[in-house]
Amino acid sequence: MTMSYTTRFWVLFIVNLVISFALVYEGYWLLMAVLGLIIGYSLNANKALSAFTCAGVPGLLGVLISILANPYAIYDGEVTAAIIGLPYSIVGSIILLVITLLIALALAGLGGLVGHYIRKLIKR
């Protein structure tokens, strides 16, 4: 029995989310790129954007959940912002949070793209 593409997408999305969260929580967030590569390869999507989304968005969410699991995180962001010269406020924290999430998206999503294109090349 083969899964439909949509089902496969969401299964991989959730698997990716869970594993991303675990990796990030343990401090191995750079490995999200490898995970994204596997997801992108496994998804076997027609469009690169799907691979990027399926790999990147769960990575981003995993990072966000991991960060928000610490009740002090937003305040940590404020202190960090103050140290590096950003506003010592929720604004500074959000700027850092957005940077962090974009990095997560880039890491996992680009990993997904690489996996996607490898799959395409192998299939040929």
Binding site: V24, Y25, E26, G27, Y28, W29, L30, A33, A48, V63, S66, I67, N70, Y72, A73, Y75, D76, G77, V79, T80, A82, I83, I84, G85, L86, P87, Y88, L96, I99, T100, I103, A104, A106, L107, L110, G111, L113, V114, Y117, I118, K120, L121, R124
Partner: protein
């Protein structure tokens, strides 16, 4: 098609690699973003240390076990009780690291000359400065000289173990955020690190460079100006800490003062011109301004905005002054009060500890990184400290010759400079070589065209001041206190003492260098003729014990009466705080009112004693020239006329007086400095003898001005030598008043009654790490640089960093407060929980009721130790 796929894959891989590189490469002095923003181990997962509460545990090290009870209380204190002394200090080290890890490491690294390894090249001058002070070598020598069977070694050993136990257990959640941002992981703490903090403290308390600008003054100004501006003993009213009538014994010897000259330049080395000498001195001054932590603005200005973890180390241990006094109540109860004026930072330079172990129950404040309690009391004795400010730094110009490169002429022969080759690791740069050159009489701080200036400081010899405090912590009487004091050699303090037996005293013991000729106020010839020949013998060092006045006090004023036989320095504070304390203590003694309430009233007093000296002549000058004043100036005059001299936040007169006095001082002296070509390179505007910043204008010039204004109002020094205008005190006072009103009108508007002191004068708890946004305040604040409750400067981050009052007849009722809190983590409620009390002039009972009974050990008959 396939090629296109390869291209797309390649692009994706390249982008991924770029992101990976971005995350792995340090940006400026920051750690790589991949570390900093790592959601699992970076800044996002930090949590503050535990809050208030008590817990019990059993600590086992090797085969020894100890029962421990720790209470963290919301008054800025960590309380440790144990049935084993070693466990108390172990726990103190552990908990200090838990609450102040970043602060203690940064202080130690700075003093060891390693700060640029973390912060980068901008602080390299600081590292070079502390290497020049020989901190790594001196701390090593101190550790090597420790007696391993002593109580103090045991304390230090277990304290160090405790710090390292915390570091070993350190998770990413508890790693200080500033360490994460900078990518710093603390190495194991060492005893040398503790002594590095000691060196930082002793330098900040005793380092001085006033001899350099004073030498310039001697070279550029005629002798009559030197006599007038810089008398070796001030002519205004002074209450010395150790007046002759309170201790005749220390005056009864020959000393060295008669063999010295105080108003002449010292001989120059052969072949060196005055101009070359001045340029070398300017270079030496620049050395301090660029690298010494006491010159606060120099290094800070060179750092990246926002990333400035050094700035407040610059300020962190500066010492503008302090107060302490001891007094006997009518029934003979001994009171002690102390408020050291260090920088008020968050986290505080202090951390509060109560340490309870066998035979010990001490409470007070401690420097993070140093075992024990530095200032505080136990059930038997109380002690406090103010900086005695004697001269323990001497400068020499070496005799050199082009025919003897790398050598100096000393005691009849040419000797090579010893070279200490240092390598300083600088973040982002690598190892930078740095050579320290040593002569017999000091380290080289400037070498300008062969004119070599060296500096000799008592702190460059191995001494263990930390032992003093550990012995104080367990002392039970005067004899044991003095035994502890015998270890204190450098950074000489006026140690106030009171005990349960009704003894009171103040002691300023330590290493006072003795020279037998020349002018020690200036740079001396380094040929060996003017070197230290020893130190003032202990029996003649300043102290006072149970004086007939029934009180004694110190506030950084001059130490001794004019006929003290030894030279101990000449740049002390104006004595205005001491004058006020003396006045109030005399009054309270006369009224038999020596109580906690009266001691608090003195400590919180904001009357500026200088107004007693300057306000009457100013009012007199204004009242006789009312017809020449503008309506706004008349309003200002009316405010001054009705003013009592108290610097309260709602006083407009205080604002007028403050700015007027500064203008009066400037208008009197600046023309002379300009006339004699005293330049910023010579220290103009930096040193108190050359009109330093307003925060420290309590140097000798203000005393001259007080003397001339009241006793010699027509003296020639009121003249303007540049314009040739003949002036007297009245003219200059009116000029300064006119300037002041103009300045204040443009700054605060046209209504003098709204020029409240609280509009221009604030207190701030500055971020210790230089992160301005993490500072607390500013708050409109009372006081100025001359009030007992001192607040130096207009945005004041220097003032009473710790207030303590104890009646040693009932020491359990001792009170105290320091601003800030226990924790360095801004997310902790203990970061800033004591500030409101401190600002409002309130005190905590240091050992409050309701604690576990162990903390009343030695105070209450039934109290025991844990276990």
């Amino acid at each position: 098609m396939s090629i296109l796929l390869y291209i797309k894959l390649g692009l994706a891989v390249i982008c991924l690699l770029l992101v990976a590189i971005l995350l792995s490469v340090p940006i400026s002095i920051l750690a790589p973003l991949g570390q900093v923003l790592n959601p699992g181990t970076g800044v996002w997962n930090s949590v503050p240390p535990p809050g208030v509460g008590c817990h019990s545990s059993v600590l086992t090290i090797n085969d020894s076990s100890a029962a421990i009870v720790v209470c963290v209380t919301p008054d800025g204190f960590i309380r440790i009780a144990s049935n084993e002394t070693w466990a108390v200090f172990y726990e103190e080290g552990y908990l200090t690291a838990e609450y102040r890890l970043a602060q203690m490491y940064f202080m130690a690294m700075m003093t060891m000359g390693n700060l640029s390894s973390v912060v980068g090249p901008s602080v390299l001058p600081s590292d070079e400065f502390f290497r020049t002070l020989l901190t790594p070598q001196v701390t090593q020598e101190i550790v090597d000289s420790l007696n391993k069977s002593s109580f103090t070694y045991e304390a230090l050993y277990y304290y160090t173990l405790g710090v390292n136990a915390y570091i070993e257990s350190l998770t990413s959640q508890r790693m200080p955020i500033i360490f994460k941002v900078l990518g710093f992981r603390p190495l194991p703490w060492t005893m040398e690190d503790t002594f590095a903090i000691q060196q930082l403290l002793t330098w900040s308390l005793s380092g001085s460079a006033d001899q350099l600008p004073f030498t310039v003054a001697l070279l550029k100004m005629p002798k009559q100006v030197i006599y007038a501006f810089y008398p070796a003993y001030p002519s205004s009213i002074q209450y010395p800490v150790y007046p002759e009538e309170w201790n005749l014994g220390i005056y009864n010897t020959t000393g060295n003062i008669k063999g010295l000259s105080f108003y002449s330049p010292n001989p120059l080395p052969p072949g060196i011109t005055k101009q070359e000498f001045i340029e070398a001195i300017d270079k030496a001054i620049a050395f301090y301004e660029e690298s010494d932590t006491a010159f606060r603005d120099s290094i800070a200005s060179k750092l990246l905005p926002g990333i400035n973890p050094f700035e407040h180390f610059v300020i962190g241990l500066s010492d503008e002054g302090s107060n302490n006094w001891v007094a006997l109540s009518p029934s003979g109860q001994a009171f002690l009060a102390n408020d050291p004026h260090l920088t008020t930072t968050v986290p505080s330079i202090w951390i509060g500890f109560q340490l309870v172990g066998p035979g010990m129950n001490v409470i007070g404040v401690d420097f993070p990184g140093v075992p024990g309690v530095i200032l505080g009391h136990n059930p038997f004795i109380a002690w406090g400290a103010t900086d005695a400010e004697p001269q323990v730094v001497y400068y020499y110009v070496e005799v050199t010759s082009p025919n003897h490169p790398g050598e100096y002429y000393y005691d009849g022969s040419w000797m090579p400079f010893e070279v200490v080759q240092e390598k300083i690791y600088v973040k982002g740069v690598g190892y930078v070589p740095y050579n320290v050159y040593l002569a017999r009489n000091g380290v080289v701080i400037a070498n300008y065209s062969g004119v070599v200036i060296v500096m000799n400081w008592t702190g460059m010899y191995p001494t263990d001041e930390g032992a003093t405090f550990l012995y104080f912590d367990i002392a039970q009487n005067l004899t044991e206190f003095l035994e502890g004091l015998s270890y204190f050699k450098v950074g000489i303090q006026n140690f106030a003492y009171a005990d349960r037996y009704g003894n009171i005293g103040i002691f300023a013991w330590g290493l006072y260098p003795v020279v037998n000729g020349g002018n020690p106020r200036a740079v001396m010839l380094g040929n060996g003729s003017y070197d230290w020949v020893g130190f003032i013998p202990t029996q003649y060092q300043p102290y006072v014990l149970n004086p007939p006045s029934r009180f004694a006090l110190s506030a950084n004023e001059i130490l001794v009466s004019p006929n003290y036989p030894y030279y101990v320095g000449w740049i002390f504070e104006s004595g205005f705080r001491a004058d006020e304390i003396y006045t109030l203590l005399s009054k309270f003694e006369e009224e038999s009112n020596i109580t906690y309430a009266s001691m608090e009233a003195i400590q919180l007093n904001v009357h500026d004693y200088s107004t007693n000296l300057f306000l009457p002549p100013l009012l007199n000058a204004l009242s006789t020239h009312l017809d020449r004043l503008t309506p706004i100036e008349v309003q200002a005059y009316e405010l001054l006329k009705d003013w009592n001299g108290d610097f309260t936040p709602n006083s407009a007169a205080a604002t007028i007086y403050y700015f007027w006095l500064w203008n009066y001082l400037n208008d009197t002296f600046m023309p002379w400095f300009q006339y004699y070509n005293i330049t910023p390179a010579d220290g103009l505007g930096e040193f108190s003898i050359f009109l330093g910043p307003d925060a420290i204008f309590h140097g000798p010039l203000i005393l001259d001005l007080a003397n001339w204004t009241n006793n010699y109002p027509d003296i020639v020094w009121f003249n303007d030598p540049i314009t040739g205008q003949s002036r007297n005190a009245t003219i200059v006072m009116l000029l300064a008043f006119n300037q002041t009103i103009s300045e204040l009108m443009s700054k605060l508007g046209p209504t003098p009654s709204t020029w409240y002191w609280g509009r221009v004068h604030y207190r701030e708890l500055t971020s210790f790490f230089g992160v301005n946004q993490l500072s607390v305040g500013p708050f409109p604040a009372p006081g100025d640089c001359n009030t007992i409750n001192a607040a130096y400067g207009l945005i004041s981050n220097e003032g009473p960093s710790w207030r303590q009052i104890v009646n040693m007849a009932t020491p359990l009722g001792g009170i105290g407060v320091y601003p800030g809190g226990i924790s360095e983590n801004p997310l902790s409620p203990l970061y800033n929980d004591t500030t409101a009390y401190w600002l409002n002039g309130q005190y905590y009972t240091l050992i409050p009721p309701g604690l576990p009974q162990y903390f009343y050990y030695l105070y209450l008959p039934n109290a025991t130790l844990p276990g």
